[in-house]
């Protein structure tokens, strides 16, 4: 056992240093920056487009005193539902030829006019790209009714603030569970795919024979998998630290302002890290086994797409655990080895018990060992052409 671990360490050390000390690792660390930059660039463009193109106004051609009335009513509505959600009103002094004014306003692009409100407050007419029952029409009806009724004093309402209610906590935790799963899924899908091509280097450099003669194939698999895990954890530590820094700098209340999971942040983060490792090791072991069968980079690329779909399928299974970790589906997702880490990270956000995590981690470790062992055996048999080559039924017949 010690020799196996020592051999795995030698392989892992080589792979880790080869990965981390290569120039391409800088790009690996900067990887998450690209979607953020893209998001920032396209978000800014989108926001500008939204500001410029969105929220067409309703042109109001009432008498000035009546516009003041409905403007005050609109402000009361905006106070209740928010400025952005309240319909925009734009005043235009009524002209002699109302029909011509209406036509001209509806054709105007600066500002864009959705409809023209004319007539009087008690007898108004709305013309434009609207129909009865539209939210815009309903809002205008509320505004007009409010404008007609004299302003009433706001009734007293005592408000007592509590930090959380049961409803908001459950909602927040479900959100944390979902986010935890999503992050775990995306990080794993990005990193474990790299494992697919891990043995191509040894095969193409012909060093596989030297290694296979010196150490057990299990050690080769374990070393390769843990080296990539270590490189990934290094990357994640950099990303999480940078992310935490950004949240603390830009988000109100910093990290403490995020919805706390059931087990608390420290335990949740520790478990999330462990489940990432397990998710990575489980999927990585499976992918290493599959990738080891490939002889060329092209074969690995061909394998990538079905592998990605399989991961999405596993993620789909794990998502049923969010909100209902104790349901039959939730338990099935927690028991099925490949979806177990993602299902359990959701559980860590939603349930305070610790023992299911201990059991789950042991269960997942067992499966990592089994998959690695099977993978090594398959590699010896199919790639190194070791062991009996004939099918079992032919051997039986012989």
């Amino acid at each position: 056992m010690m020799r196996l671990l020592r051999s795995a360490f030698v392989i892992g050390r080589r792979d880790f240093t080869a990965t981390v000390l290569s120039k391409t690792f800088i790009f690996f660390l900067l990887g998450p920056l690209f979607p953020l930059l893209l998001g920032g660039v396209f978000g800014t463009i989108g926001a500008r487009v939204a500001i410029e193109a969105d929220r067409p106004a309703i042109a109001v051609t009432l008498q000035p005193n009546e516009f003041a009335q409905i403007s005050a009513a609109r402000q009361r509505l905006a106070d209740a539902i928010g400025e952005k959600r309240a319909v925009q009103l734009k005043y235009f002094a009524p002209e002699a030829d109302l029909a011509a004014q209406q036509k001209r306003l509806l054709a105007s692009s600066s500002p864009p006019i959705q409809a023209v409100l004319s007539g009087r407050v008690g007898d108004a007419h709305l013309a434009g790209d609207v129909s009865p029952g539209d939210p815009t029409v309903s809002q205008l009806q509320l505004i007009l009714r409010s404008a007609l009724v004299p302003e009433m004093p706001v009734p007293q309402l005592d408000v007592t603030s509590t930090p959380k209610s049961s409803g908001s906590t459950a909602k927040d935790r479900a959100l944390t569970a979902q986010l935890g799963q999503m992050i775990l899924f995306f990080i794993t899908i990005l990193l474990s795919g790299m494992v697919l091509s891990q043995l191509i280097e040894e095969k193409s450099n012909k060093i596989i024979e030297v290694i296979a003669a010196a150490v057990p194939i299990d050690a080769l698999f374990i070393g390769k998998l843990f080296a990539m895990l270590a490189a990934s954890v290094l990357g994640i530590l950099v990303w999480v630290s940078a992310g935490a820094l950004l949240v603390n700098v830009f988000a109100a209340g910093g990290i403490a302002g995020l919805p706390p999971p059931a087990l608390g942040w420290p335990a949740f983060m520790a478990l999330a890290m462990l489940y990432f490792a397990m998710n990575y090791l489980l999927l990585g072991a499976a992918f290493l086994t599959i990738g080891a069968q490939a002889a060329t980079v092209r074969e690995v690329q061909t394998l990538s797409m079905p592998i990605t779909f399989a991961q999405v399928l596993i993620f789909g299974l794990a998502t049923v655990a969010v909100g209902a970790p104790d349901s039959a589906e939730g338990l099935a997702a927690a028991i099925f080895p490949l979806s177990s880490p993602m299902a359990m990270v959701a559980r860590a956000a939603e349930r305070p018990e610790v023992w299911p995590h201990v059991a789950a981690l042991l269960w997942q470790t067992l499966w990592v060992a089994l998959i690695l062992h099977w993978g090594a055996k398959l590699f010896r048999k199919t790639v190194l052409k070791s062991g009996p080559q004939r099918k079992w039924w032919r051997r039986a017949r012989a």
Binding site: V10, R13, K206, I207, E209, V210, V215, R380, L384, S386
Partner: protein, 320 residues
């Protein structure tokens, strides 16, 4: 004094034993009942044409692949991987990590065999300096010439002072100077107590280096034993040049004698040289020259493995 690592148990038997090894790849039988015993401290050659089953036999002995049937013992271990720390292996298809420096490449293989990395680097520097590659120690392997890279890989098989060194076609791809250097290196390792097994299709290397050989043809061992024993299977060769073309002396040379230029070439008759000499003199041959030669390993190989295998070896030798 044979090499014996401190942590290894004392073992006095043959370095390698194979008993009735069989290996099937699908319907093809690559190795068919190979049995051999390699004495500890010897230089042992596996001879045979390409496709004879030499590499597969070596891979089985090293534990890279398992046999379909039969058993093997390496340095006293039934599972070769347990002896891995005392074994060095140069595969036929050479390969190292191209981005690694020469010293790190050697130290890495040493580490695979249980040598601490720092010690491996120290020994790598020594070995590289001894073999004229000192200034290349810190250069990536990808920048080395093919011959240099091959030397680096060869040194990596020896960095941990193995008790058993297995070299698969070590001379292929080397120029004459490097072939001579490699022969010297093999002799030195054997002198230091290591057991060397190498496969080759070039009989001359085996003849110069080996004490024992196995001739493999079509997956089977056609001969296993000492080189002298292989040669001993053939009678000495007589090369005779006479002044007289014909005469009574002609009845004293065998009917199978052949002409090579002006010489008659034939196996020494069972009676030995003296009766032959007397018959030639009495028969009036007029002996100009008479030489009795020990048959070479090539002749033994032809006799043992057959003409087809010898022709295949010859073709490969010429190509090499």
């Amino acid at each position: 004094m044979l090499r014996q690592a401190q942590h290894e148990r004392i073992y006095d038997g043959p370095a390698v034993e194979a008993i009735d090894l069989v290996k099937d790849f699908g319907e093809t039988r690559a190795v068919d009942g190979v049995s051999l015993a390699v004495p500890a401290g010897s230089i042992y050659g596996l001879l045979g044409p390409n496709g004879a089953g030499k590499t597969t036999t070596l891979r089985i002995l090293l534990g890279i692949i398992d046999p379909s049937a039969g058993s093997r013992r390496v340095l006293g271990y039934d599972r070769p991987i347990e002896a891995a720390h005392s074994v060095g292996y140069l595969p036929e298809e050479r390969g190292l990590y191209p981005a690694m420096t020469a010293r790190d490449g050697i130290a890495f293989v040493g580490a695979l065999r249980g040598l601490p990395l720092a010690e491996g680097r120290r020994r790598a520097d020594q070995l590289l300096a001894q073999h004229g590659l000192g200034e290349w120690a810190k250069k990536p392997i990808r920048t080395l010439s093919k011959g240099m890279a091959q030397t680096v890989q060869l040194l990596s098989t020896m960095v941990h002072h193995p008790r058993l060194i297995v070299l698969d076609e070590p001379f292929s791809g080397l120029d004459a100077i490097n072939q001579a250097r490699l022969e010297e290196l093999i002799r030195n390792e054997a002198k230091a107590g290591a057991t060397i097994i190498f496969s080759t299709h070039v009989i001359a290397h085996a003849e110069r280096l080996c004490e024992r050989i196995a001739i493999i043809a079509q997956g089977k061992v056609a001969f296993e034993g000492a080189v002298d024993e292989a040669r001993g299977r053939l009678r000495p060769i007589v090369r005779l040049r006479t002044r007289n073309e014909d005469g009574p002396w002609r009845s004293s040379i065998p009917a199978s004698a052949r002409r090579e230029g002006a010489e008659w070439v034939f196996e020494l008759p069972k009676g030995g040289p003296e009766p032959l000499l007397k018959a030639l003199i009495d028969g009036g041959a007029g002996i100009e020259t008479l030489a009795i030669e020990r048959p070479g390993l090539h002749d033994a190989f032809v006799a043992i493995a057959g003409d087809a295998a010898a022709a295949a070896m010859g073709a490969v030798e010429q190509a090499a």
